[in-house]
Amino acid sequence: MSAPATTPDLLYSQEEEDLRAAVRDLLGDRCDPASVLARIESGEAHDPTLWKSLAEDMGLAGLLVPEERGGQGAGHREAAVVLEELGRAVAPVPYLTSAVVATEALLACTGPEADRLLAGLASGRTVGVLAVSLTGTPGDAPRTATVENGALHGEFTGVADARAADVLLVPGGDGALYAVDTTARGVAVTPRVSLDLTRPVDTVTLDGAAATRVADDAAGPVERALRAGAGLLASEQLGIAERVLTETVGYLKDRRQFNRQVGGFQALKHRLARIWLDLVNLRAVARSAADALATGSEDTDVAVAVAQTYAGRVAVHAAEEAVQLHGGIGMTWEHPTHLYLKRAKADSLAYGSAGRHKERLAELVDLRGPSA
């Protein structure tokens, strides 16, 4: 078992902190819990105005894209900071799916069509979604569309944010990667009633949909996309866990029962302290994964698998404890805690469950199970 050659940079740079402050500022104004709740009640999952501000006006959709391909030329460390803030706000925008996962797939492709699509995604004016289930795990062969006379046929379930997409990236049965315009004939996006209404999943049906070939080999782009998605998802999960802990601590300082602040009871203090300990570790593994992706480290697969084995449990536990420690109010629809619980639980399945990432890790670090 060899150790990584260099220690990752696990801190936040001043530029990253400035970026965080700017995103937090905007989300504070435009994405408070009450407005997120109102939006999901309206049946419109996504907030296109917020997306325009984040993606176009602030240029955040292009963070991962080099300047010569139409982006901001930043990297995964910066995108991770954005995701922490979006997680803190359970923001209903397709950032992870379009600006990270679909963008990563296109970054692995060359040629004028890929360049055109990438520039569109990087500008924020186009939303792109990879037509792979949100549960798709790095290393898995994705479901593919049948290719007949250049048109695509097939059904894709569990596709996150498809209803917000302008373009779908679809792996073909011939091994190639295709782009499909969601307004084209033969493309149907059927919304599903989703556990997490802030990142809903849809069924995409292609019935002779016209498609443009983006790359001859879909496997590399899909693998790269899912790996980056899994690695940076940990930062979103960190943001969720941090927010619910802060909210719960604040609530328990205010709430009084038995003529005392409820947060003064040791049984509850210890539970909150344990969440904080998990959070500290989650920050370290999330920064490690982001830094590995940013630097192209040889250790990236391990760093991502570690982050995704760890992050889901921590974020879900923090959100579950938030519901319990808020007492009755935590069970109500009007209180925002359930938004975090639902996002945290859905995230624990996204881009591979902890169990799937543990299986990957067992291979990567040579800790194999009993022979069958």
Binding site: L10, V249, K253, Q266, L272, A273, L282, R283, Y310, P370
Partner: protein, 393 residues
């Protein structure tokens, strides 16, 4: 003398003047101390150069590359980690000159006389009495959990000097001579079979007033320096991936495929990931310190370390199957230093039980995290304004 390159040059000068290959260990260590390269954050003349603590790494790297001898820091950990910073902060010039050099050189081993049978987590309730008699203090009482007491020349000691005020205010901090005939050290046998700790009985020991550290009645504040450094020492050293306890069980796992079960496999991978997460947190903490942005994360390191050591060593005993029923040796020995990852799996399992007790129990540390980091209300205190002599015991 301000930056790393100057310090590197100074270390090279030491190595040139005293080549490790041809210099006797003690001579080299003395020369290193006198060159200010023992602990660079200490003042000049006391083994340091008054530089930021983080620059010590520059010296250590140069010395390690040259194969220079060290002062066996594990043997003198209490002196280095607890007594020295306290003496530096609160000692008189004479005390600093007398104690720090032989302490760092390892000529004089130190131990810590803090805990008592009736004062563990509630250390401030301690009952060992020190009564002023002329220029001396006369001390009587009993201390416990004292590692290295049987090899120590000196002890840092806290004792009650005023029983009529609330407990935190009536304590004074001393340096105690362990060769005094009134000091009796008895081994305290642990669940591992060995006696790494001692009980220390103090009967009529006379301590001159010039061996007091800090003001009379200010011992609790002085002791905070010692205790904060203890927690850093227990939770804080750098480890490579699979360093520490997890490396023991992964080695067995890879070498002995016949022992593997599906259940153990899942638990092993979970613990591997948690150990890696804790390792990265430690690395991040050190990066924060180097960057001059110390965070509260250190408060949690010892908690994670204790829980992981216990769970990993417990898993290892299970993994070993029938061999897990055996134990290397129950013979009572008195080790000079402790190795949490030493000996066999059974020993590691039993010894790690102490990790959540020594240096602050996990329960107290969780209180500290909840109160100081999260800002939650403190535990109700019924003892705060009561004179020590009136407390229930």
């Amino acid at each position: 003398m301000t930056d790393a390159s100057d310090l590197r040059r100074r270390t090279q000068d030491l190595l040139a003047a005293h080549p490790p290959a041809t210099t006797d260990r003690t001579t080299f260590l003395e020369a290193r101390f006198d060159a200010g390269l023992a602990w660079v954050h200490f003042p000049e003349g006391l083994g340091g150069l008054g530089l930021p603590r983080t620059l010590q790494a520059v010296v250590e790297a140069e010395l390690a590359a040259a194969g220079a001898p060290d002062n066996d820091p594990r043997r003198i950990g209490i002196g280095l980690g607890m007594a020295a910073p306290t003496i530096l902060q609160y000692g008189t010039e004479e005390q600093k000159r007398r104690f720090l050099r032989p302490l760092w050189l390892g000529e004089e081993v130190w131990c810590q006389l803090f805990s008592e049978p009736g004062a563990g987590s509630d250390l401030a309730a301690l009952g060992t009495r020190a009564v002023r008699d002329g220029d001396d203090w006369v001390v009587n009482g009993q201390k416990v959990w004292t590692s290295s007491a049987h090899i120590a020349r000196w002890a840092i000691l806290i004792a009650r000097t005023d029983p009529d005020v609330p407990k935190h205010r009536g304590i004074t901090y001393f340096v105690c001579d362990m060769t005094d005939p009134g000091v009796e050290v008895r081994p305290l046998r642990q669940i591992t079979g060995e006696a790494e700790f001692n009980e220390v009985f103090i009967s009529g020991v006379r301590i001159p007033d010039d061996r007091r550290l800090g003001e009379v009645g200010d011992g609790w504040r002085v002791a905070q320096t010692t205790l904060n450094n203890e927690r850093v020492a227990i939770g804080g050293s750098a480890v490579p991936r699979e360093g520490g306890m997890i490396g023991k069980v992964t080695a067995t796992w890879r070498d002995r495929p016949e022992l593997r079960t599906h259940d153990l496999h899942q638990r092993l991978l979970d613990l591997w990931v948690e150990a890696e997460a804790a390792r990265l947190t430690g690395a991040r903490l050190r990066q924060q310190l180097v960057a001059g942005q110390p965070g509260p994360e250190g408060a949690g390191m010892k908690l994670s370390f204790a829980r992981l050591n216990q769970q990993i060593s417990g898993l290892e005993v299970e993994l070993l199957g029938e061999e897990g029923l055996l134990y290397e040796d129950w013979t009572m020995v008195r080790p000079e230093q402790v190795d949490f990852t030493g000996r066999d799996a059974g020993y590691r399992y039993l010894r790690s039980k102490g990790n959540s007790i020594e240096g602050g129990t996990s329960e107290i540390l969780l209180n500290i995290v909840a109160e100081r980091v999260l800002g939650l209300p403190a535990e109700p205190r019924t003892d705060k304004d009561v004179a020590w002599k009136d407390l229930a015991r």
